[in-house]
């Protein structure tokens, strides 16, 4: 931005803040320095339009209205109470939290926004050191869909996006009335009414592919009363695990440290001349336990329960036979 334009914009803000009367474009042209340079009426109005857009993009609440019924056209002013950030004073430990929060995002866009907030908090007199060394560095990642989806939630607008379900190549267009964006266990979800299914659904942001398209008029999407967004997400993701069964496995000596550290050695045995320990393990998810135990090949053999032993056995056969077929 040129120095002349920056100066003009600051003067415009000051002029509009200081007036209770609405100032018409013509009056602004007459009093705010910089506009007098406009070569023609048309050039001035173009310039003024661009400046109004700039102020609105900065988040400045530009009011339009007329001072009396006799006025022919709208004028402009900025209401101080809408412009100004409220009073704020942070205790040192609160300021430390803010300094850390600014560094939390793993996204340049959100980091930029957080820093914009920090500039204003500092201007309100708050002392924040955002470079203080810290022993713990948390990071929060935001997928590209985060911004557009949150904007749609806040605008009350429906969205369309391409979505890939877990374990499927198929990308389907989903149409959603979004109620909220939710973080759960370090992952982001969008929750809302799925128009195609006619039911509430959660979608993981990392599986949204391509652009999020907000459509239709804003303000039409309403979140039903009493809906708990967090509970919807936590219910659809896995619950806290509790052990469902105990397995007994044989583990070759000196092998499969990952299995050993989760279990308890209860005896000794040999398998085909190979010495090993008998280990008992508490299992949380029997299905994924079969995958995990199969991964160790001949180093881990399942003795009990039989259903798990069979499950591992059939996985091994599938692999061995796939080899034969090729």
């Amino acid at each position: 931005m040129s120095t002349a334009r920056a100066e003009r914009l600051v003067n415009l803000v000051l002029a509009l803040l200081s007036t209770r009367q609405y100032l018409t474009a013509e009056r602004i042209r007459g009093i705010v320095p910089g506009y007098a340079d406009a070569a023609s009426d048309e050039a001035y109005f173009r310039m003024f339009e661009r400046d109004k857009t700039e102020l609105r993009e900065l988040g400045i609440p530009l009011e339009t209205g007329r001072n009396s019924a006799f006025d022919a056209i709208d004028g402009y002013r900025i209401a101080r109470r809408d412009y100004e950030l409220g009073e704020i004073d942070l205790a040192p430990d609160e300021a430390t939290a803010v300094g850390l929060a600014v560094r939390l995002w793993d996204s340049p866009e959100l980091t930029g926004e957080a820093q914009g907030a920090l500039v204003k908090l500092r201007a309100a007199g708050v002392e924040v050191d955002d470079q203080a060394p810290t022993v713990v560095e948390p990071r929060v990642r935001a997928e590209p869909a985060f911004g557009p989806l949150l904007a749609a939630v806040q605008a009350g607008q429906a969205v369309r996006f391409e979505y890939r379900r877990s374990g499927s190549a198929e990308r389907k267009i989903r149409t959603l009335e979004p109620w909220g964006v939710v973080s759960w266990r370090g992952r982001w979800y969008v929750v809302g009414h799925d128009r195609d299914r006619g039911a509430p659904r959660c979608f993981r942001l990392s599986r949204v592919t391509g652009k999020v398209d907000a459509f239709g008029p804003p303000g039409v999407v309403e979140r039903p009363e009493g809906v708990n967004l967090l509970r919807m997400v936590s219910a659809s993701s896995s619950e806290d695990p509790s052990a469902v069964t105990t397995a007994s496995v044989w583990v070759a000596d000196g092998r499969a440290a990952g299995v050993r550290r989760r279990g308890r050695v209860v005896g000794r045995s040999d398998a085909g001349g190979e010495e090993g320990d008998l280990v008992e393990i508490a299992l949380f998810y029997p299905e994924s336990a079969a995958d995990w135990l199969t991964a160790h090949g001949p180093d881990v053999l399942v003795l009990e329960p039989e259903v798990l032993a069979k499950s591992v056995f059939s996985r091994l056969e599938a692999i061995a036979h796939a080899g034969g077929a090729r």
């Binding site: 850390l100 907030a117 201007a123 967090l230």
Partner: protein
């Protein structure tokens, strides 16, 4: 809007200076993340601005004394502009995520900060966003985290018993702690590993035992923090490459590990190229997929997977017959 743009800075400068009479130009420049030269230019610009009339009493007035500044007339610009919706969201959501991450800062302080910023931000409060269920942390991991934290604060070396998933082995190491990281809700200790002679990330839930040593932590001067911009996993140049075909049930692999998606095949299958440092790890991964992934190359990897499966079947048969006798 760029937060580091000139307009947001110009609008914030006068209130910032009003709150800090006599601040050094260098200090103010540091807070705004600009050079002192740029800050002087900004101040010169503001000096030319003011209220209609633009006489001596209408203009913003600043007095410079040496390298310090005092605002003597603010022309009505005495408070910062309110937060935009985007700024309030980025700040408040980050704070809520911080409150959900154990052991970083006092969660109570975070909640107080949130309440104060929400009150000041007024209508810019982010709605429609919920942050919950932060870190799923076991009791043991919480203990590990606390011990690591105190070692970092006291700058002491650590002796750890660590499970390396990639090698499926447990090793004892002496490490010089550098940082405690929480990435995507998982905690890591970043440290100089004296055994590997390099900077390593240790997942807290894989540290089985930990002793804070009496000796100081002395990471060598050339130890650099890990670049996390592409996540925690990073391909290393010494790795091998394999080409796999994943059945639909195994497609999560492409989501979970960094890899290159080559082709979508019929039946929802996906061909990927994946790097791996350790063949035994790769063999375990593929075995664990239980036939839902086929190795296309290298041939030796496919052969190793089949051999392990065949050996396991042979041994399982033997064991069953031993037990049945």
């Amino acid at each position: 809007m760029s937060a580091t743009g000139r307009m947001p800075r110009l609008l914030a400068l006068v209130p910032y200076l009003l709150a800090r009479p006599g601040i050094k130009i260098d200090d103010a420049a540091h807070d705004f993340d600009v050079t002192p030269k740029q800050l002087r230019k900004d101040l010169e610009l503001l000096w030319m601005c003011g209220l209609p009339g633009y006489g001596p009493g209408d203009l913003i007035d600043l007095s410079f004394e040496g390298d310090t500044i005092v605002v003597t007339h603010d022309a009505g610009m005495n408070r910062p502009l309110r937060l935009t919706g985007g700024e309030a969201t980025a700040m408040l959501v980050a704070l809520r995520a911080l409150a959900e991450t154990p052991g970083v800062v006092d969660a109570d302080a975070v909640r107080r900060a949130i309440a104060k910023i929400e009150a000041a931000a007024g209508q810019a409060q982010p709605s429609g966003i919920v942050v919950g269920g932060g870190v799923r942390e076991g009791k043991k991991t919480a203990g590990t985290r606390e011990a690591v934290r105190s070692a970092l604060t006291a700058k002491r070396a650590l002796r750890i018993r660590y499970y390396t998933a990639s090698k499926d082995e447990i090793t004892e190491r002496t490490v010089d702690p550098m940082r405690l990281l929480i990435v995507q809700a998982v905690g890591y200790l970043e440290a100089w590993c004296r055994r590997a002679e390099g900077v390593r990330l240790f997942r807290l839930d894989r540290i089985d035992e930990l002793t804070v040593l009496g000796e100081p932590a002395v990471p060598p001067a050339h130890a650099r923090p890990t670049d996390l911009s592409d996540g925690v996993f990073r391909p290393r140049p010494d790795q091998q490459e394999g080409v796999l075909v994943l059945d639909p049930d195994a497609r999560w692999v492409a989501e979970y590990y960094p890899c290159e998606e080559l082709d979508e095949l019929d039946g929802g299958r996906l061909r990927i190229r994946m790097r791996y440092a350790d063949e035994s790890w790769m063999v375990r991964l593929i075995l664990g997929l239980g036939g839902d992934a086929q190795v296309e190359s290298p041939a030796a990897l496919g052969e190793a997977v089949r051999q392990r499966a065949a050996d396991a079947l042979a041994r399982a048969r033997h064991l069953t017959s031993t037990y049945e006798q």
